[in-house]
């Protein structure tokens, strides 16, 4: 029965309406449970879909409108393991978030819960949909819920600015998507991904295809926050309520990356594969710049949520590199990175919420040494940072090592060290903050860090044990994924299938069912020595970065001054560019789109 594909979307939507309707009458003691249960049930359905999709791709046509002679009349959902996995990730984080926020939201908790459920439906729909316009609908649903959630603390200017920048840039992005969709419809007469893919295959890429591809990719690059489309993210994440941040960071940004992969392989790979190097080079360059620039930006923050927001951008850049290699191994690496980093980062945001509740601030310098009162939380935060580093066999290591192997197979030996550097710097920023807060290391002042306005109101009703427990569980999942037996083979297998346009198209339009063998035997991933070296290297860089952040003053004065002369202008430039003004951000989006479009117009054209 393929009807199960409707549940990850329809269930939270019915649930949202149900919560909106009944919340006022629900006894106070159990008010929080309906939303949690609905989210948990959604995860259960998505997980069943994931397990079943490992054997065969599932397809459901809404309204029973099966394609006729290869012509899709209605809207279909198509589930293969990567898409279903995305839906599971989104559901798991929303569920964790709802549990975590038990009594957390003091104002309008009903509206908060309703929006979280709608948000979940939007992400699941985007991950499972096989129709480009339908994906736009879910993109927009996700957006509308997210803008409102970001502006939750409306009585302060920061959240208003963050939510506005978020809403405006992402609406521009949505319009890019729509314009691209309209071009594709005009060119192929289809909205179904498989049908567009089939109709584009075998032709050269002309102007329409290149422009549509650019607009669709640019729209999603805004959503997933890739340089220079990324500016809104730090503004929005820094001011959103902590439970919302966790879902944004762990799932929403990644949904955008997923969309790029989905559209490239299902829709555009036919005409663009002959020019794959041009697609690869552009995405790789953007991914690398994103990873490195944002890692540095993370290091310059003292506001913990803003610091974490920049690490999210940095991770997005690394995962984009994995997608950009256009190869199964690297794609599997990107997918594993997204999952483990998603959980670890969500855990770090959750930890921020605990600090906020206890100390009424998330400012690293103001929190100096105060975390000593929370040793358990300190351990959890340290573990999360280790998971982000990708120390051999822990956390994001699996993703990093598969990505490294993919890059090496392509002869891009220079890529893994650069990614190691980015990972090390961003994780080092987290380690620095953890050491300063939980161990009291380093000075209480640091002029390098961006000054921040006073922080949001802490939500003091929340239950600390519940918050800490959820934080620990989420971080442990993130760590555990690094050595989950069999995950490597499964994800590679899933990536192979994800890239197989032929199978996708035949399954969707012609109903040709393929069975896939049972998942590979459960074996522990055996990494190459080079990957282990990179993992250890990232750890060393992270420790060095953290030490530099904490004990810069112990560096000999001459060396320090030389370093400052070299780096200060760059740092000042970076800070100026991140101006907080939405007009600048949209200008950068235009510049980025025009540049990428220009490069692709020259390189993707013709046979």
């Amino acid at each position: 029965m393929s009807t199960i594909l409707a549940f990850p979307v329809a269930l939270p939507l019915v649930g949202a309406a149900f919560v909106a309707l009944t919340d006022d009458w629900t006894p106070k003691a159990v008010k929080e449970f309906p939303a949690m249960l609905i989210a948990a049930a959604t995860v259960a359905f998505s997980t069943v879909i994931l397990v079943r999709s490992e054997r065969t791709t599932l397809v459901h046509w809404f309204g029973g409108w099966h394609p006729r002679h290869g012509l899709a009349l209605g809207v279909g959902f198509v589930a293969e393991p990567l898409g279903a996995g995305m839906a599971v990730l989104a559901g798991a984080l929303v569920t964790a978030s709802l549990v975590y926020s038990w009594r957390y939201m003091e104002e309008a908790p009903r509206l908060y819960r309703v929006l979280m459920l709608v948000f979940l439906a939007g992400m699941s729909g985007f991950a499972l949909s096989g129709d480009i316009f339908n994906m736009f609908v879910w993109f927009e649903l996700m957006g509308v819920a997210a803008y409102a959630l970001a502006g939750y603390s409306i009585e302060r200017l920061g959240p208003i600015q963050g939510a506005l920048n978020f809403a405006i840039t992402n609406t521009v992005a949505a319009l890019f998507l729509l314009f691209g969709t309209a071009l594709l419809y005009g060119h192929t007469g289809a909205l179904n991904l498989a049908q567009i893919g089939r109709s584009l295959a075998g032709h050269h890429a002309g102007g329409v295809v290149i422009v549509a591809f650019t607009l669709l990719v640019a729209g999603l690059l805004v959503k997933s926050a890739v340089v220079p489309f990324h500016f809104w993210l730090a503004d929005a994440y820094a001011v959103s309520p902590v439970p919302v941040c966790a879902v944004f960071a762990g799932a929403m940004s990644e949904v955008g990356l997923f969309g790029i992969a989905r559209w490239y392989w299902t829709v555009f790979s036919g005409p663009l594969d002959p020019h794959a190097h041009a697609v690869r080079d552009v995405l790789l360059a953007m991914g690398l710049v994103t990873a490195l620039v944002s890692a540095v930006m993370a290091f310059l923050q003292r506001h913990l949520k803003r610091l974490l927001a920049y690490t999210v951008i940095s991770h997005v850049g690394i995962a984009l590199c994995g997608i950009a290699l256009l190869d199964s191994k690297a794609l599997a690496g990107a997918a594993n990175l997204v999952i483990s980093n998603g959980f670890a980062t969500a855990g770090l945001f959750f930890a921020c919420g605990v600090l906020l509740r206890e100390f009424r601030t998330v400012d690293e310098l103001l929190l100096h040494g105060r975390g000593r009162a929370l040793p358990f939380l300190g351990v959890v935060v340290a573990l999360a940072a280790v998971a982000l580093v990708g120390v051999p066999y822990i956390g994001s290591f699996l993703g990093h090592s598969t990505l490294d192997e993919g890059a090496t197979e392509h002869g891009l030996r220079w890529l893994p060290p650069l990614l190691m550097l980015a990972t090390g710097i961003s994780a080092g920023a987290v380690l620095r903050a953890a050491a300063r807060i939980f161990l009291g290391w380093g000075p209480r002042e640091d002029s390098l860090l961006t000054p921040e306005p006073p922080d949001e109101v802490p939500e003091t009703q929340a239950s600390r044990p519940v918050m800490v427990a959820v934080t620990a569980v989420v971080v442990l999942i993130g760590i555990g994924l690094g050595f989950a037996p069999g995950l490597e083979d499964r994800s590679e297998h899933a990536s192979d299938r994800f890239r197989d346009r032929q199978a996708y198209v035949e399954r969707t339009l012609d109903g040709k069912v393929r069975r896939y063998g049972p998942p590979a035997p459960v074996v522990l991933h055996r990494a190459k020595p080079s990957s282990i070296a990179y993992g250890i290297g990232a750890l060393l860089i992270a420790i060095a970065t953290a030490a530099l952040g904490l004990y810069r003053r112990r560096v000999p004065a001459t060396a320090r001054r030389a370093g400052a002369r070299l780096l200060d202008p760059a740092v000042a430039g970076l800070k100026t560019v991140h101006s907080g003004v939405v007009g600048d951000y949209v200008m950068w989006i235009t510049v980025g789109t025009a540049l990428v479009g220009g490069v692709w117009a020259l390189t993707l054209h013709g046979p």
Partner: protein, 112 residues
């Protein structure tokens, strides 16, 4: 063959984008977003148009009709535009209350 309606769509799209970039007032900015969005309406409807085609409503007779799909898409598009404008206006009210300004350049509370 005419391409003018497509050019109109592109014009609306880019001029709306200019408005968003240059706006000094959030309410004006929201309207600029709807101008961009109008570009997409025009594009969708133009793509679905057939010379001599009437509305796809067949009562009582059959006749040459334009594409019904783009009309349904445009309907969705309009709803999206309404909701986004509503949210931005609500945020603009908040900005005005907190800072006394609706100029997006002036409400930048933090940066860097």
């Amino acid at each position: 063959m005419s391409y003018l309606p497509y050019a109109l769509a592109a014009w609306l799209f880019v001029v709306g984008l200019y408005g968003v970039v240059s706006s000094r007032n959030l309410i004006h900015l929201a309207v600029c977003l709807t101008v961009m969005q109008s570009g997409t309406y025009v594009l969708l409807l133009a793509i679905g148009y057939k010379n001599g085609g009437a509305a796809p409503i067949f009562r009582p007779t059959r006749h040459k009709a334009v594409d019904p799909v783009v009309q349904a898409l445009t309907l969705t598009d309009i709803v999206v535009s309404v909701t986004v404008v509503a949210l931005i206006l609500a945020l603009a009210l908040g900005a005005h209350k907190e800072s006394g300004s609706v100029n997006p350049d002036e409400i930048a509370d933090f940066s860097g």
